[in-house]
Symmetry: D3
Subunit: 136 residues, 6 copies
């Protein structure tokens, strides 16, 4: 069993806002992340897939194929978008990095499985200092 | 003459949109940066100040003081904000990194001068790959 | 279960020196790290906490709160300090990164537990090339 | 049990090419990595070793010793080399990062064991975006 | 006048070898960079262009256009190539980073000029530690 | 004329302290950098040399030779040292990065000149956020 990782970056706007709370509570809990007009990040996404090495290719899975899967299913839907307004798979959800990482996992896990490999980790960094890891 | 540099980071949303153009032209010129609901970045700001070394302190200018100047005059106004909607000194301007770098220069130059040093460069990176430098 | 990580940096002096050995043995074992007048590093601390996502906030634990815990209990005590002379929780210990990582774990684990989350890993990098990870 | 990591970098040429396939198939599977005249990378190798802290030294294993082991057994054999032509332990193998990581593991595991520690992970990055991890 | 920078990366093989010298002299002067079977790097190219800001776009030059120019004229010709064997504009030249930076300048300067901007600097890093800058 | 840069890193302890002032003034001016027992940094030194390309080698100056000059004259004297106590060329000086950059320049300029090249810049970063550049 070996692990391969592919990094992709995307630039998106979002805000943390719970519709069930009043503005004061949102500011108290989410601080500057609750700015009504949004803020944004260069998000850094690192996806880990595990499997056995195919002796014909020396690969678990072709990283070019993994790159294409990430582009078509994740990056094209969130890059240069507003996570609160533009992204179907985040509709109705708080756009915390935790929730985004879980949503990305839920999309990728069956696709990776159909390629005879196993999704192991979705790591999402909002900044160099704030990072989420989800293992399913 | 010696040069000192202070780096600060801020997270902001923006979009590139020229109000004088129709939507089609905006998309044609600005591509995915024209997304109506905004996108965002972790901007990286590097400010260079030059002057002579004070023999009493070994400093051109105390970097803690420079940090405070940047925080009060720039970072507190743009961090976790929307550059198109929330920032007084960008009102009515295209929020390209070029225009933002010039606006930051115009605010900082007189303040640095009042501290007996000279603003030399404002460097602003939207991503690791897209960077602006302005020398006045 | 999801994992969140917060990175903090601190600048400290230290030396590796075993009081039970003579100078020659210290130099032989610890090399240039045994310099009697100390050397120093920009240490990079990455703390991982795990727990379940609170549906109200989208958070395992508010990263601002984790940042405050790290500042009050760790960073304020070691930043711009001498690890051999100034830090109560390293008193009488060899100031290797291994021992420092364990000491940080011992301080943080009960605090994180009191917030209904679980400390998962303390990662401490002296340089980009020399890194310690401790999982309790 | 604590984990220590040592990073080393090396610059090498390689190409992905399966001798059992014709040129067309190699290009189809390996894309630009199949360029017959080779391409190259600044590879980034991060080796993780685990063990207990020796109370006399504060170390699991002296990182200077680990550095020497890596230099003599790995880096001196692959730095500024052609992985397909110059490296005895890759002879007859596809020079994918997966296969290289496994080969490095097979060399290091018994050496680390002879030092009373345990090899935990070999992490090899071809670029910032393409990374392999092998845990034996 | 404002400066814009675009970063591109490419992975290439090369060797330093002067055909007029015997092998011994090549090894003496170029050290491990003279390995006959090549080595390689992840090169980091940073191109600086200067000009005035167009008030309609807020740009000196559209960075997407600069990216396309770099891709078509430089990156597509050197990425995943052997600089000694595969690159027409390096034919017959020593493939030092100095010579490569000058060759890139000579290709880009007239193209940038035709876009009403001025090429200011070609910066080429072989590794984080070895960097070349050329200003024409 | 072309510019070459060599990066070296060193780990050192220091404190900012003006012997002519009382403790209170030192703390007021230098803040946490005045800690009597020192603190430390991973300093990042980037030296720029300019000259013409030698057509025989493709080099301004062999970077291996520049590396050796830096090691023998600078790095071996300051790495894993205390800048206030252990470094002859900083004796009696405030150990600000400004003063250290100037001292490094004064040592390197004549050596580089004797190699038929010209020292252009000494850049010294205490942290990623605080950087000094000196051009003589």
């Amino acid at each position: 069993m070996i692990y391969i990782q592919r990094r992709e970056k995307f630039c998106a706007a979002h805000k943390l806002w719970n519709e069930k709370w009043d503005a004061e509570t949102n500011v108290k809990i989410f601080g500057k992340c609750s700015n009504p007009n949004y803020h944004g990040h260069n998000f850094d996404l690192l996806v880990t897939v595990k499997g056995e090495i195919d002796p014909e290719t020396g690969f678990v899975m072709n990283l070019f194929e993994l790159k294409k899967i990430l582009k078509a299913n994740i990056i094209d839907k969130i890059d240069h978008k507003n996570l609160n307004l533009d992204v179907d798979f985040m509709a109705g959800k708080l756009t915390s990095s935790e929730n985004l990482a879980v949503a990305i996992w839920d999309i990728l896990a069956p696709i990776i499985k159909s390629k005879n490999a196993i999704l192991h980790c979705v790591r999402l960094a909002e900044t160099d200092n704030n990072i989420i890891e989800y293992y399913g």
